[in-house]
Amino acid sequence: MKVKAEILRTYQSVHTWTGICAGLLLFIGFYAGSLTMFKHQLQAWIAPIPAELAAATAVPPQQLIDKAIAAYPQAMAKGFELDIAHEVPYLSWYSQGGARGMNLDNQLTYAFLNEHGELTTHIAGENKFADLIDYLHRSGGLFGEIGHDQLGVYVLGIAALLYFLALVSGVVILLPTLTKTFFALRKEKGASRLWLDSHNLVGIVSLPFHIVIAFSVFVFAYHDFLYDGLGKFYGDKPLFNMPTKTEQPYHINDLPKLELLLEKAHAYSGQHTTVHVSYNRLNSPAPFATLKMENPRALVRGPDTDYLFMHPYTLDVQNSSFPQGDTGTWGNTVATFFSLHFGTYGGNWGRWGYFVMGLLGAFLFYSGNLLWLDKRTRKDGEQKRSTLFMAKLTIGVCLGSMLGVVVTLVLGKTLQQSAFALNELYLWIYYLTFGAFIGLSFWLGARKASVFGLKALALGCLGLPLATMFVQYTNPYAASWLESIWVDVFGGVFAGIFLFAANKTKRRSQAREASSIWSMQAA
């Protein structure tokens, strides 16, 4: 396809500048996003279920609820969480803090029946590792808050806009050569060519995924503003209808049996299984229950499950994330946007697909930066300060943020039995590792730092199975390690991948191609 030279030049500039401005932040967003696909597995790996909980008795959940209400009526009336996905049911409530916001010192009281069928409680700090991954994914790890959201979320929203511009401009500049070089991976023309070909191939093949991610990230960040703007066009029409409240408060002693609630949920959708019920404000005029509904064979709208909102006393369905029937057209379409972002379709295959696409996305930004650096060095014929700065920053941020997560995982697990405030420790370990590696990258230079960083990553990944063995060895009854065995297995796999990459990078820097940033002397 023929495209005018000036249009190509313009879009080449758009592509370069949007990529350079947003690339590093998006790199963190993407690889952390990949990890969120398996955040429950990672959470179960770093903080396994305590042994006493694992040894609890399997009873009908109703028996547990009745005993807990009798023993702790006040706490239970405020609201509690009931997990019914596991063989052994347990419930929990916040004895300090609450579910909203990112409070690192939340305390949960777990209640379950011990082997003699007696109600037992276990107080534990809420482990926030999965939230740290989420936080990195949504904010890129930027500090600060605006209103009820993190500053980084808004910054990432802007980055998503730049990223969309980068996608479109990338396609435009590829148009003239698309048919010729689409599947070409030209190894023989040197490493830069191979990087360029891989960059283009990944970008074009996963384009639909990237388009959906780009605009959904913006919507997630700015939906309040978008609704406000839309409200102006709705005039006197309210955007949303508010539910009417009843006057008299309900009381927890009148709470209908769980069975009835689950039957109602099943009647609403036969394909879904309820895995979690969250009861809220039970002794108030406006109590509500949120049900997490699993359906591995359908699009679900939440990060893991669908939601069903029910009145816990009248058992009326008040709202749901999966509207049914003829009135559901718009809601179902919106649900599709959510699931296309969260990758919550196709069960575990969908998860793996999104995991890989997320990593390829991160590769897109990483390789994009490296290509820019290569091109700049070749054009300038020398290593400019700005190019060197960007090279160090790219290596520092990309490898440093991944290293931060890996080190947090390994140390977090080995320190699990210690008296540290773990949630705060996670943040400290992450930011210290991240910052230290960026510093190291500026000190050693991009070439040495990348080899060192990749090796450190390989070592860190290998640390995952080692940490599991260490914990099992020091405290054999700590928990069931088998549940999270795949985390250990893939730790080993990724250790191999990073080691391979480290060796490749080292060899390339020894070859000292004149036009490569890898040939740069440490400055």
């Binding site: 000036e6 388009i211 009135t327 718009w330 809601g331």
Partner: protein, 99 residues
Amino acid sequence: METSGQGQAFQADWLSKTLAGMLLGLALAYVSIALFAWYGPGGIDAQDKVQFNMWMITPIWFSIFSATYLFRTGKRAWLLLGIPTLALYGVFFLLRSMA
């Protein structure tokens, strides 16, 4: 900043094209969705349609924004995006005032 060669009408006009894409693109996206909300399938009261409408603003805006650099000059971008924007807002408020 790049400029095109002599004798060619194409100009980079980074600032004005970017602003046209950002501002007029958003304005166009809003008014198209507003028309769709009131006069599109299901009308204004269709259940959950407001969520769909909110979602669709962004892809429309982004698409217009990313195409803005195809205009030969910044002035043309403002003209060719501005006229339909004004026209659609005119139509929208006319229809609403008649209702």
